[in-house]
Structure formats: C-alpha cells, structure tokens
C-alpha cells in the first residue's frame, strides 16, 4: 500500500539561524539606535491629527453635543459607533496575549507585546467617546459611585454603568498585563543602554529585575493567573458593550445573539488591525524572521473563522426576526437590507462576510500584500457593522411618523479622524521607546531554551520529531 499521507512539521517560530544574542539585538537595537527620520515624519503627522482631536473636543465642550449630527430620532451616531469599533479592535490584543497563552500557542510571543500595546491605545481612543458624549462633561464623575451633592448614587441596574466598570477594568488589567510582560525586557534595555539618563529611566521601570529563577517562578504564576483573568474579562467587556444595545427594547437591538456576535466581531476586527500594523512594522524594522509568513497565515485563519461567525450571526438575526413573528423586528431587518441605509448594509456584508472568504486559499493567506488590503477592508466593514446596528434601528423604529435620516457633521468626522492621531502618537512612542516584541518570552519558546535539546557535552542539538509509521491493516 502506498503512503497516502505526509508529515507536516510545525513551522519554526523564529526563522533564520539566530541565537539569543541576535534576538536581543534585533529587537532592542530598535530602541537604542538614533531615531530614524521616518519616525519624525510619522510622529509629526500623527501629532497633527491628535491636535484635530483635541480641537474637536474643545469645541464640543464649548458648544455642546449639538455640533454632532445627533437629533431625534437618532440619539446615538458616530460617537457610539466609534466607541464600539475601537473597543472591538482592542480585543485582539487580549485574545493574543491571554487566550492564546492559555492554549499554549507559542507563535503568540512574536506579536503579543505589539498587540497588547494596540489594545491599550485602542481602548483609550474608545473611552473618549462615551465620556465626551455625556454633554455635561464637568459632572462626568457622576458615573462613578462617589458621594455627590445630590446624595444620589449611579444606577447599578443600567448597562451604561456596567460599561463604565467594564471598560475601565479592561483598560487597567490590560495595562497591568502589558507592564508585567515588559519588566524583564526593560531590564534588558537597562543593561544594554549607554546613556546615563536612559539607564536611570529604564532601570526605574524595570524595578531592579535581575532574571532570578526564584522570581521567574512567581512571575510565571502571575502571568498565568493574569491570562486566566483576562480571558473571561475580554469576553465580558464586549458582552457588556453589546448589552448597551441588547438590554433596550429597540427592534434590531433587543436580541440574545448580541454578546457572542459582538465578541466574534471584535476579535475579527482586532486581528485585522494587528495585521495592518504588523505588516508595516515588520517591513520597516526588518523583523520578518520573527513575525513570519506563518504568523500571517495563522492570523488569516482566525480572520476567516471569526468573519464566518459574524456572517452566521447576520443570517441568524434575519432568521430570528422572521421566526419571532414580531412585525417591528421583521421590518427593521428588511429595512436594513433595502431601506435608506442599504448602502451601508451591503458595504458591511461585502467587507465582513465576503472578503475573508478569500482566505480559504492557502496562496492568498500567505500573500502579504493581499492580506494587508483585506485587513483594512475588514476594519472598514466592522465600522459599518456598528453603524448599521446603531443608526438603522434608531432612525426607523416603531412609528414611521418619527422616522428620520441621520447624517454626521464635520465635527463627527473630525473627532473620529482625530482618534487616529491619538492612537498613532502613542503607538509611535511605543515603537520608539519600548521593545515591540516580548524578548524574554520569544527566547523562551526557541528550541535552544529547552534543556532537553542539549547533548551530554552541552552542545545544542535540533530536536528530532519522530514521524509515526502509517498503520497498515494486517491483511
């Protein structure tokens, strides 16, 4: 009988023939060498965009939320769409750092630092929108349970308050997780940097880390516990974001499918964003040996899976609307696909459901340029998904006499574009001053790190994988 299968080895996580020293140098030299001119250009552009954000917010505070396109019947518009979009992007970072860690996916080490940074900055962008949406910003502290002059407390039965707790907990825990991962790498930079000033700053933030195995022992435990905490946390955050909609009685919002559907969408858009950033950075900083094509392929598979889950959710929404027998529920879904916002609906379907289907092809999954395009298309689609959900349900709800068409104003657009300034300003600072790959973790997954891969003379030997013989039925 001829052999009908072949053994497909797990691809090496780090390509090329690098030892530990190379890895340290490859990643931390980016922080140690002089700032490249390109960085200054990018930083200038993003700072200007950040000024656009600050300007728009200042004008909003001065003038009030009337400068946005919000009016009856659509009381939620771009601000909420942007909030959900940015929070969703953040979720991929936690998925990579926590969930893939619990599943022992070694390939996460190349991208987790990077993705966690993206999470933090994306959640910062997200948090701005509900905060400035309150109108009277000077009493924003009312959302927190602090004593105030009315002797009242916030309403703990309200999903909007759950959101305050969910998003602020998420930001805090993501930051702690990120920092814990950074400590050993900050120590690496501390030991390599020449300038006295740099030594002091990195040394302070490294907290005197010295790589002791007694410390690593507690450290690994802490890392594991944090991953275990962040996993249900990330699922809960987008669940609670979806409750902002699902707990209301608006047709098209009041559905139980929202929590899983929102979480899948969040992971979908987040992975796309990680890919967009990663493809640019690995090119500029020459990290193709660490963030390999295999990583891109694996991430594209996740995009395909979550994209199809989102597509399934869209179909299920239609089915449930019909199956429920509720007139308003049926009407809103027909209106989404054929009504005044049909253009947005079909952009959403083609970007989110159709575009990831290209990744069934292995060739396209490994095509970097193609992946880059799809990653941007996916994020456009996911923005439109939130737009379709938020705006269509509000503008065409129960009474046709109170229907209306929502359009954004200049300030809606400026605020949204401005958040990219905030995001990229922080992201560029991160790329410049912090190691963008988790150096210690990456070394830990290399075959050289496993004491079993050394012979008695203390020389490294590549691990040999035993290929099982095919089972032949005794004839």
């Amino acid at each position: 009988m001829s052999k009908t299968y072949e053994y497909v080895p797990e691809p090496a996580l780090v390509k090329g023939n690098h030892d530990f020293k190379d890895i340290t140098a490859m990643i931390t030299d980016i922080n140690l060498r002089p700032t490249p001119t390109g960085w200054y250009i990018a930083f200038t552009v993003s700072s200007l965009l950040l000024m656009v954000l600050l300007g728009s917010i200042a004008y909003l505070f001065w003038q009030g939320t009337g400068i946005w396109g919000l009016n009856s019947p659509a009381g939620w518009g771009w601000a909420i769409v942007n909030f959900v979009w940015w929070v969703g992007i953040g979720h991929a970072g936690t998925l990579i750092s926590a969930i893939l860690f619990l599943f022992r996916q070694g390939w996460r080490t190349a991208i987790n630092r990077f993705a966690e940074a993206m999470t933090i900055f994306a959640v910062m962008c997200a948090g701005i929108f509900p905060a400035i949406h309150v109108g009277r910003i000077w009493v924003i502290y009312w959302v927190f349970p602090v004593p105030n002059s009315m002797t009242m407390w916030p309403n703990f039965n309200s999903p909007l308050l759950w959101d305050v707790f969910a998003v602020s907990t998420y930001l805090t825990v993501s930051f702690l997780f990120w920092y814990v991962g950074l400590v050993p790498d900050l120590a690496t930079i501390r030991d390599r940097i020449k300038s006295k000033m740099g030594k002091m700053i990195y040394g302070t933030f490294a907290l005197g880390w010295r790589g002791s195995n007694r410390h690593w022992w507690n450290y690994e435990k802490a890392y594991m516990i944090l991953a275990g905490l962040a996993t249900p946390l990330v699922l809960s955050v987008h669940t609670i974001v979806s409750f902002d909609f699902a707990v209301s009685i608006i047709p098209g919002w009041h559905t139980t499918i929202f929590p899983p559907y929102f979480v899948a969408g969040a992971v979908f858009s987040g992975f796309a964003m990680v890919l967009t950033l990663m493809i640019i950075c690995r090119k500029i900083y020459g990290l193709e040996d660490i963030m390999t094509d295999d990583h891109i392929e694996k991430m594209n598979i996740i995009i395909l899976v979550t994209g199809s889950m989102v597509g399934f959710a869209y179909a299920m929404e239609f089915f449930m609307a019909w199956y429920s027998g509720v007139e308003y529920e049926k009407a809103i879904f027909i209106l989404r696909a054929t009504g005044p916002y049909a253009w947005a609906y079909w952009i959403m379907i083609s970007c989110n459901v159709l575009s990831p289907q290209f990744f069934w092809s292995k060739k396209l999954r490994r095509n970097v340029a193609f992946t880059f395009v799809i990653s941007i298309v996916v994020n456009i689609g996911m923005w439109f998904e939130r737009f379709v959900i938020a705006v269509t349900s509000l503008s065409t709800d129960f009474l046709p006499s109170s229907w209306g068409y929502y359009s954004p104003t200049f300030w809606d657009v400026a605020t949204y574009i401005g958040t990219f300034g905030l995001f990229f300003t922080f992201f560029l600072l991160f790329l410049r001053f912090l190691p963008m790959v988790a150096v210690a973790e990456l070394k830990g997954v290399m075959p050289q790190a496993d004491p079993h891969n050394y012979n008695d003379k203390g020389e490294f030997v590549q691990p040999v994988v035993e290929i099982p013989e095919p089972y032949n039925k005794p004839s």
């Binding site: 703990f156 825990v173 040394g203 907290l207 010295r210 690593w216 050394y454």
Partner: protein
C-alpha cells in the same frame, strides 16, 4: 577575592554557565549538596528549574484568591448599600435587590482586584522593586538579561566557604567565576 577588601562583606560567588542545560544541572548539584541560599539567573524562565532548585509552590494563588473574594464581596456590599439601604429607588414597584443586574459589576470588580493581587502580589513576593543589588556590581552579570546563565551561592548559607564553593562551581563546569561584594 585576593584583594584587600577585608572590610567589604562578601555577598556570594557568581558563576556563569554556557546554556540552560548546564545551568539546570548545576542547580540540581547545588541543591543536592544541601545549599539553601542560592539562586539561578537566566534571560527567560527555564522549564524544570523549579524542581532542580527545589522551589516551594508559589503562594501567589492565595493572594489572588483573597483579593478576588474581597472584590466580589466588596462590590456586592457597595451596590447593596447604595441601591437598597442608602437611596432606595422604587422603579415601577420592582424589587430593590435586583441581583441579576448587579452581576456584571460584581464580576468586573472581582477581576480588577484579583489582577491587582496578582501583579502587586508577585512583586511583593519577589521583593521588587529593589533598584540596587550587590549582583549589579558585576559587569558580566549584565548578560543575565541577554544570553547569560548564572548561579550565585550566597554567603548567608551555613555551608558557605569561599574555597569550597569555588571548587564546586568549577567542577560543575562554570566558565566564569567571580566573588561578589556587598559594596
């Protein structure tokens, strides 16, 4: 060790090894010899080092559990006080203790406090931050965060004897041995 640093107390002896396997073997040996005050240093955690060094189970889990419990009960008591005792609001005659609606915030605060427990508990157990340490006096020790693998036997150990420890480490295959002083 031959210089006249008589008034400068020894911290211990630092030895470098070439790779994770040699380090783990050395740790096993030192542990078998009955040393208690020693430590190994590596740029990443080494699988199996806890057994080689005979490390006790980390207490961190208990710290996190305590914090998590505090978060859970704290959140419940806070919401109960605010919604039921201090400012009860009658909303269409619905029950004041609307427990299902409190679950999300109770969950979030449990996670938040547990995460604080995990991070700060870990730093507390490790005695960090500690920005200065006798080991940082060694120029060679800088490799510990790059590609160096080190063992340090501390002078606090009752079995500590400079000559003997030196020999032990040399026999274990150390490439670079130096005495570390407190100052």
């Amino acid at each position: 060790m031959k210089t006249s640093e008589s008034d400068n107390k020894q911290y211990g002896i630092l030895a470098e090894f070439r790779n994770p396997k040699e380090l783990i073997d050395a740790a096993k040996l030192i542990n078998e010899k009955g040393f208690k005050y020693f430590d190994t240093f590596s740029p990443f955690p080494i699988h199996g080092m806890d057994k080689a060094m005979n490390l006790a189970k980390s207490k961190l889990g208990w710290i996190v559990a305590g914090h998590g419990l505090l978060g859970l009960t704290g959140a419940f008591s806070m919401i109960y006080y605010m919604m039921v005792i201090d400012y009860p609001l009658n909303i269409s005659g619905k029950t004041l203790m609307n427990f299902p609606a409190w679950v999300p915030i109770m969950f979030e605060l449990t996670v938040l406090l547990s995460a604080f427990g995990a991070v700060f508990g870990m730093f507390y157990l490790n005695g960090l931050p500690k920005l200065n340490h006798p080991l940082f006096n060694s120029e060679n020790f800088k490799k510990a965060t790059d590609d160096g693998f080190f063992v340090c036997i501390e002078s606090e150990d009752p079995q500590y004897d400079e000559e003997k420890v030196h020999k032990l480490l040399k026999d274990a295959g150390a490439t670079n041995i130096e005495t570390i002083f407190d100052e």
